[in-house]
Symmetry: C2
Subunit: 290 residues, 2 copies
Amino acid sequence: MNDYTKEIEKALRSYLPKGDGNTDTVINSMDYSLMAGGKRIRPTLAIEFALLCGGNINAVMPFACAVEMVHTYSLIHDDLPCMDNDDLRRGKPTNHKVYGEAAALLAGDGLLTLAFSVILGADAMERNGAEKCVSAAALLAECSGANGMIGGQIIDLESENKEISLNLLKIMDEKKTGALIKAACLLGCISAGADERQCKAAEKYADNIGLAFQIVDDILDASSDTETLGKPVGSDEENKKSTYVSLLGLDECVKISRQLTEEAITSLNEFEGDTSTLKQFAAYLRDRKK
Amino acid sequence: MNDYTKEIEKALRSYLPKGDGNTDTVINSMDYSLMAGGKRIRPTLAIEFALLCGGNINAVMPFACAVEMVHTYSLIHDDLPCMDNDDLRRGKPTNHKVYGEAAALLAGDGLLTLAFSVILGADAMERNGAEKCVSAAALLAECSGANGMIGGQIIDLESENKEISLNLLKIMDEKKTGALIKAACLLGCISAGADERQCKAAEKYADNIGLAFQIVDDILDASSDTETLGKPVGSDEENKKSTYVSLLGLDECVKISRQLTEEAITSLNEFEGDTSTLKQFAAYLRDRKK
């Protein structure tokens, strides 16, 4: 699999605001979570789809960074005491454990806002033009908003300590995790000027790996250990959350995650270019250990 | 003064997401704060500057609504227990008092995200075109982000329970309150296709009324009563915050707020159109009782 981590992290760093010396706390807090490593799945997907559809890495990079900023902000807010109240993220103390709740709240707000500064900024405009930037930013807002990721988070919140149906669990994950993965894939398509058929295939790929990704997350939470995973395991069971594992069992989950990965790989047949890296990426998401 | 409240609130309501029945809590929570009244100062400014520069109310309306959404999100997050921990806002219980902290957090996130959906949405694009929408959204992001409003909030947070200099207080307010007021005025200019001279004059007007607005806020907190103001008074003194009143005294603050208002009114001489409503608006901000 191609590894764009270095390029992505260089670009992410370049887009962090410099500040005027009075606002260092919030900028450092944004930096802390944005540069805390992670798999960079979403920006990688944006880059891969851009390349597959004839685009280039420079043009898609601001879009790729924007989606990673939205993802990072959602993690900071998700970890807050009034939400999941998590102390560890990627093996490190969560943002509010280091900077305090208020600065973590503002750092999340700052990263969400920065995503739109970057996706509409000078680099994005110069390399993609106004029409593509508007499409990209509007898509990112839609997928991140109350009908997308935030909608999934409220369902998640209201599902705590009670059993929910498999149907509602799927709706929740389509919004909470799936929407931003879909945004990532489509941002690549938009930057490359992909046609409708390509966008639909990208969406199908995203939907399948998105659901597989969430099922694998549940599998890991139920069967991994804290050291391997880099965060506490068993939190789903502890919080009495309905998960694919609790509703369908571990074996069935492994089976479904494989089926979804196969379907994702099949959807790539719509593309004429080299899809080997995206196929490997789907398999990697299925087989990951953290 | 022209009153566009009815038109603004109709448009704001039309832009709230409908949801699919699973996400009602966050949508209702967004609705609660967005439709809770308030003076609609920022959207009114956007409309007035658009009209002054030869634009029209339909074109600027999505921009005007976007800035009000950003303002509302900032109030919801500002009121949270980890920030100002306020129970009342505009005479009503604050968002988290009604919907809980987690839903209030998400409602704020949702409104910030929605602002970008609206400023780049179908209405905005149809009525303004892609170039103006990109300029408008990029400006809104810049003024709302870590170098703008959020930067002001972190300075505010770190200034609690200690004295700060008049210089830092001004920098804080320029960012915390001033940046979004400037965004509002300039969004009107952008929608109308104003020239650079007009934008500079609008910025000067915004800077002056922005600072005057904050000084008047401090005056009211120090000298009004809860019933008139619709929120608890004396909170600045209680929190040992440095304010213009604590640093300069009440009389000097009244004098300066008048000078700034005069300067704001003078800056309008750059425009050829009818500036009477914006002049009255500056005077209204100076003379308001809540």
